[in-house]
Amino acid sequence: MATVSFNVNGEVRALKLDTRTTLLDALREHLHLTGTKKGCDHGQCGACTVIVGGQRINSCLTLAVMHEGDSVTTIEGLGTPEHMHPMQTAFVKHDGFQCGYCTPGQVCSAVAVLDEIKAGIPSHVTGDLNVAPELTNAELRERMSGNICRCGAYSNIAEAITEVAGSPA
């Protein structure tokens, strides 16, 4: 057993855990924040995506005890049913999901993707590495490739993200 303390959605949480506990299981099983989903549990599907220290990561592939003092934002921290995050509103408007299982991960990833583009981080499809990347449909699709949607809502997800980013798809 080990102890760890980190900030989740603005609240400091202290936990006593088996060292094997992933951040994903700490969030879901110990803090009962079940918005973050367990899909493959191997970093292949993106359903567990959360934002730690401003960066999106797969919460299934990191140990909770490695996050002492970190700030974690889950889907519950982005918005609530009464006060949805603009990305959540856009997903609803554009039918960016069907079964909804991958959606929390998609939304967390999408919010972080817009920050990554703003920060000038290039992607595999960026034409010129020495020019700030643009927010194109090709850029969004490449950057969101770590979030799999079994229902295939990809085109609507891309439209939702594009609307939030404030430029046409």
Binding site: A2, T49, L61, A112
Partner: protein
């Protein structure tokens, strides 16, 4: 997952010394590959030494005009570094061709080099695998081998090294800095870091027990067109069937390293002399001695054609 003790390392030498005291200890940094393998009980360390606090998270100029990349620099940060984008575009391109945004935010420079093969028979613990269980045999040989090695393989193992970044590091003549359990340090040329499988495919690198990578150094920039072309079954987020990393100068000379075909980044300096004569001449030398399987003979032609596309792109 097997249970383990967890501790944070406070100095590199102490981390290396701690790792050698427990024979099945492992360093953990990004953890994206190690935890995946621990969940499957392919990796079963009894002691995890977290090296994230050691401060090797900077990219700095060297007195020689090159770059020293801290072992803990994340793949995203390295690909986005202004100097890397400007002077070592091949490295940015290779990093961005690998994994997903989420994984690149976690994965480190050293961890990327040390990641293990994605051979499905290595991952399937019901199958014999000389890499996972030395002496048990190789289920890949005679199995489904579309993804496997075509050169440098052995009767014991036909797995490939999965890294894109390592292909760029090999073409860029990187060196790897380490600290050993006795506190001494050394430089290892990237060409000498990874081993071919031979009779001991479970030994993947030339690192000694407990030896910790602290940085990776690039020599000063060599100019030229930097191109990384990766051929895979999906447009994104998939391992390479074949990848070609090249630096091509205006006179047609240059360097090339190939991924997806061997147990280590594949570069044959003698083949590079053929670069002004075109892809076929280079590929013939590069792939001399290849032993493809029925399923992956296509990789030989794919290397040549991918290289041809790269050389065409280099001409602009």
């Amino acid at each position: 997952m097997k249970s383990f003790t967890y501790e944070k390392a406070h100095s590199p030498a102490a981390a290396a010394a701690a790792a050698v005291r427990t024979s099945d200890a492992k360093f953990i940094a990004g953890g994206t590959n190690l935890l995946d393998l621990m969940k499957l009980e392919i990796e079963t360390p009894s002691r995890l030494i977290d090296v994230n606090g050691l401060g090797f998270d900077k990219v700095e100029m060297t007195p020689e005009g090159g770059l020293r990349i801290g072992a803990l620099v994340r793949n995203t940060a390295l690909a986005a570094d202004e100097r890397v984008r400007r002077d070592y575009g091949l490295l940015s391109r290779a990093l961005l061709a690998g994994a997903s945004g989420q994984l690149r935010n976690k994965a480190t420079t050293a961890g990327n080099l040390l990641q293990r093969t994605r051979c499905p028979y290595f991952y399937d613990t019901n199958q014999p695998c000389n890499k996972r269980n030395p002496g048990s045999g190789c289920a890949a040989i005679g199995g489904i081998t579309r993804q496997h090695a075509v050169i440098g393989s052995s009767d014991a193992c036909i797995a490939t090294h999965p890294s894109d970044m390592a292909i760029a590091m090999r073409a860029l003549d990187a060196t790897v800095q380490t600290v050993r359990p006795d506190g001494t340090t050394r430089d290892i040329p990237i060409a000498d870091l990874h081993r071919l499988p031979g009779d001991t495919p479970h030994l993947e690198t030339t690192l000694a027990a407990g030896e910790l990578i602290t940085s990776v150094t690039l020599p000063k920039p060599v100019g030229g067109a930097h191109i990384y072309r990766k051929v895979r079954d999906r447009a994104s987020y998939a391992f390479a069937l074949v990848s070609v990393g090249a630096i091509v100068q205006r006179d047609g000379t240059g360097r090339v390293a190939v991924g997806g075909i061997a147990h280590k980044p594949w570069r044959v300096e003698a083949a590079e002399a053929e670069m002004p004569h075109g892809a076929k001449a280079v590929a013939t030398r590069l792939l001399d001695g290849a032993k493809p399987t029925r399923d992956n003979t296509f990789k030989l032609a794919l290397v040549e054609r991918t290289l041809a596309a790269v050389l065409t792109e280099a001409k602009g």
